[in-house]
């Protein structure tokens, strides 16, 4: 295993024949849900202008169901459109949403945080073999070099907890993890070197806040980091404020992040933000045996406690 990661990976194409099945089933299900007025709108993916691209879409007319699709370009986590922050979308009425396994984890988290009730939303789960990583020209085949990092370590290819699972999962190649390796490298560094690493990364941040805006859990009406009085974090896109912003963000997502890695995908400056979320998830698992799951839980690890929690770090 260790040797194989040293060598350049051989090209592996991932079988996505199941996506055509998924597309057909999403269309017929969306049509049915809208025609029978079970839902008022369906949040899904449709083709964009660029060849092979897919973009989020909210449809309300059964005739539009034919536009829906599933492909390796369906990278977005659509659960963001279901939070209370999206007033205009919730105003459309009862919603159905197309969700990959990783997205379903976010949906479960949002139910746990009372953003919506599970029975209010119809979840169309997709058997997913993987989607593109950031920066891939749409239309490229799905291979081990174009697949997203998160998909290499995916444990939820089939979102069982959805109301309906569409598509067909082909046998999947065993892809060695990339993020895990990177994580191990960082963990092995001295704190001073890690600081250098993060400093370089955060210094690059332009504070476009794409990471916050695509995060299903960043639904706060008033972000702490937008506040002026008191100002928690400097708003200028400079190293000092950037460092503060990313630390605060990681902390606020600890125990809530569902690991969809959208923050990292959308970062126009390629900052590996999911490493922070992953670190927090790893620590929460070790400390409190908590893992973001497919079923809603009422209380997360940081909104609950155990009297016997470890306190070896406290004098």
């Amino acid at each position: 295993m260790n040797n194989s990661t040293e060598k350049a990976e051989q090209a592996v194409t991932i079988d996505i024949s199941g996506y055509d099945v998924a597309t057909a089933e999403i269309r017929s299900e969306a049509k049915r849900l809208l025609t029978e007025k079970i839902v008022d709108a369906v949040v899904g993916y449709q083709a964009g202008r660029r060849k092979g691209s897919a973009v989020p879409v909210i449809i309300t007319d059964p005739a539009q169901a034919e536009k829906l699709l599933f492909s390796p370009a369906c990278v977005n986590n659509l659960s963001i459109y279901l939070t209370k922050a999206k007033k205009e979308i919730r105003a459309k009425g009862k919603l159905a949403v197309v969700a990959k396994g990783c997205d379903l984890r976010a949906l479960a988290g949002l139910v746990g945080e009372s953003q919506f009730k599970r029975e209010e939303v119809v979840i169309i789960g997709v058997s997913c073999a993987g989607v593109h990583r950031a920066g891939i020209q749409p239309g490229e085949p799905l291979t081990n070099s174009t697949i997203a990092k998160k998909c290499r370590e995916c444990s939820v290819h089939i979102p069982d907890e959805a109301d309906l699972v569409v598509g067909k999962l082909p046998p999947l190649p065993d892809l060695p993890p990339k993020e895990k390796e990177l994580m191990e490298k960082l963990d092995a560094m001295t704190p001073a070197l890690r600081w250098e690493f993060w400093k370089e990364q955060f210094t690059r941040c332009i504070r476009c806040l794409a990471c916050r805006q695509v995060c299903p859990f960043c639904y706060c009406e008033q972000c702490l980091c937008d506040r002026g009085r008191p100002q928690a974090v400097d708003t200028s896109p400079r190293p000092s404020g950037n460092m503060g912003w990313h630390i605060v963000r990681a902390m606020h997502l600890a125990g809530r992040c569902a690991g969809c890695a959208e923050c990292e995908r959308v970062c126009p400056m390629d900052i590996p933000l999911n490493l922070l979320n992953r670190k927090m998830a790893e620590e929460l698992k070790e400390l409190y045996h908590y893992e973001a799951g497919m079923k809603p839980v009422e209380k997360g690890p940081l909104t609950s406690y155990d009297e016997k929690d470890d306190q070896s770090f406290i004098k």
């Binding site: 210094t203 928690a232 190293p239 390629d270």
Partner: protein, 161 residues
């Protein structure tokens, strides 16, 4: 005694236990370093990790967070929640590359004036030996990205990112 370096230490304490403990140390005329600046909160549960971050950014060399012993919280469970939050926050800071020796946590009750003196004295000595914390304050003077990789050791990691 005069030292070359007097560290700035900020103590975030809860009003019911540690603040009263520190008060007891004072009224008992116990002597401890004056390096510590005490900031009082209703409960450790109110101490947001942002405060710690802000204190570092504004030039604190060390930080102490202290409150009621488990089971003694005036609000029943504030310190239990804080305990989890800080356990995780420590790990985050460590991952970012902050030396955790600069961040201390303690339970000090209203009766433990002696413990307060001991903790503050030890922390002050420890931070004094470590010298000033400049990593956060240095950042304040820096502008945008230069695109230059300052450290060759990081190059391999960057290539992987």
């Amino acid at each position: 005694m005069k030292h070359d370096f007097e560290p700035k230490i900020v103590a975030f304490v809860c009003t019911w236990c540690t603040y009263a403990g520190a008060d007891l140390a004072g009224t008992s005329r116990m002597i401890y370093p004056s390096n510590v600046r005490v900031v009082k909160f209703p409960c450790t549960g109110r101490i947001d990790p942002v405060f710690i971050l802000k204190a570092f950014q504004k030039g604190a060399d060390g930080i102490l967070v202290s409150g009621c012993h488990p089971g003694d919280c005036h609000y029943m469970a504030g310190n239990f929640h804080a305990r989890r939050r800080f356990a995780v926050f420590r790990k985050l800071l460590e991952f970012i590359g902050v030396d955790l020796n600069r961040l201390e946590f303690s339970w000090v009750s209203a009766a433990e004036g002696g413990k307060w003196v001991e903790i503050v004295t030890d922390l002050t000595q420890k931070i004094r030996k470590m010298g000033p914390l400049t990593q956060f304050t240095d950042l304040a003077d820096e502008e945008q990205w230069s695109g230059a990789l300052s450290n060759p050791e990081l190059k391999a990691v960057y290539d992987q990112v």
